[in-house]
């Protein structure tokens, strides 16, 4: 293990902003892409259902 404490881990040797921004943004992009695709699929199915029954 590389870290003396949790605060040392979060501090990233003084580069916390750069490191956590990079990983955080990546995580956000992944979450956004998956959630928006779920929504898109549901919306498409809903519209087709209306078309099928209408």
């Amino acid at each position: 293990m590389q870290w003396a404490s949790w605060s040392a881990f979060f501090n990233m040797g003084g580069y916390a902003f750069y490191v956590w921004f990079s990983f955080g943004l990546t995580a956000l992009c992944v979450a956004w892409e998956v959630i928006s695709l779920r929504k898109r699929s549901k919306a498409a199915l809903r519209l087709s259902k209306i078309l099928a029954q209408g």
Partner: protein, 249 residues
């Protein structure tokens, strides 16, 4: 035993197959990401020159690799769609573009976040950075062009042409650090040369790249399913599916 691949080239048969494949790729991506993040933060040592800031490499390099790999795969599907007039191939190309654009954006932003503390600049107009920015514009151009043409088959053909012309940019990105004097460092991994980084650093990077790769397959399959539903809205199989599946996915 031979598999009839053409059977799966119609949206109607590929849709349920893709649905069965997605959870597997999600699991693989999750496992590789957990292992990769553990090695990236708990095992890989501090860099003697860059301190902890170098840990950005574990997202930056895999994202940059994927930005180029996805473009080549996308152009390949687009070419296949153009040559065989196959709608599923064109849909695959369309499904990959947004994910490629996201990885390109991530490569640029994480690179910027790495450049600031190490080079003292968020951005420089060197060959590597500029050609990667052009890649982002190629992805966005492909998406915008497809969206601007109403007839999906015409949109596929126009998009395919743009994607194929843009392929020339990928080797320029890859070799830019060799061909020009760039502020950007050389390749992290060279074929036929011993790696210049610690084995654990390399391992973390490769695991993260595998996670991104599996993630890309999963979201591309999710998106191609959406595209199929949207494009074949008036066909019987989509109508039936929407009624039997109800609202659930």
């Amino acid at each position: 035993m031979s598999i009839n691949w053409f059977k799966y080239s119609s949206p109607q048969t590929f849709y349920p197959l893709a649905g069965k494949m997605i959870p597997w790729f999600v699991w693989l991506a999750t496992i590789f990401a957990i292992a990769g993040l553990y090695i990236s933060f708990a095992v890989a040592p501090t860099d003697f020159q860059q301190g902890e800031a170098y840990r950005i490499i574990f997202v930056h390099v895999p994202a940059a690799w994927m930005s180029m790999v996805i473009y080549i795969v996308m152009a390949g599907w687009a070419a296949l769609g153009l040559a065989l007039n196959a709608r599923l191939s064109a849909m695959m190309a369309q499904a990959l573009a947004p994910t490629g654009a996201i990885f390109t954006l991530l490569a640029l932003v994480t690179g910027s976040l790495w450049g600031k503390p190490m080079w003292g600049a968020w951005w420089v107009w060197d060959a590597r950075l500029t050609s990667e920015l052009i890649l982002l514009f190629l992805y966005l151009g492909f998406i915008a062009l497809q969206a601007s043409i109403d007839d999906p088959r015409r949109a596929d053909r126009a998009g395919a042409l743009l994607a194929l012309v843009g392929v020339v940019n990928v080797p320029i990105i890859y070799f830019s650090v060799k061909w020009w004097n760039t502020l950007h460092q050389g390749s992290s991994i060279n074929m036929g040369a011993a790696p210049k980084m610690a084995a654990t650093m390399l391992m973390g990077m490769l695991l993260m790249a595998l996670a991104f790769w599996m993630y890309t397959v999963a979201v591309a399959l999710m998106r191609v399913r959406c595209i199929m539903l949207e494009r074949e809205r008036s066909s019987d199989w989509v109508k039936e599916l929407s009624v039997t599946a109800g609202g659930k996915l």
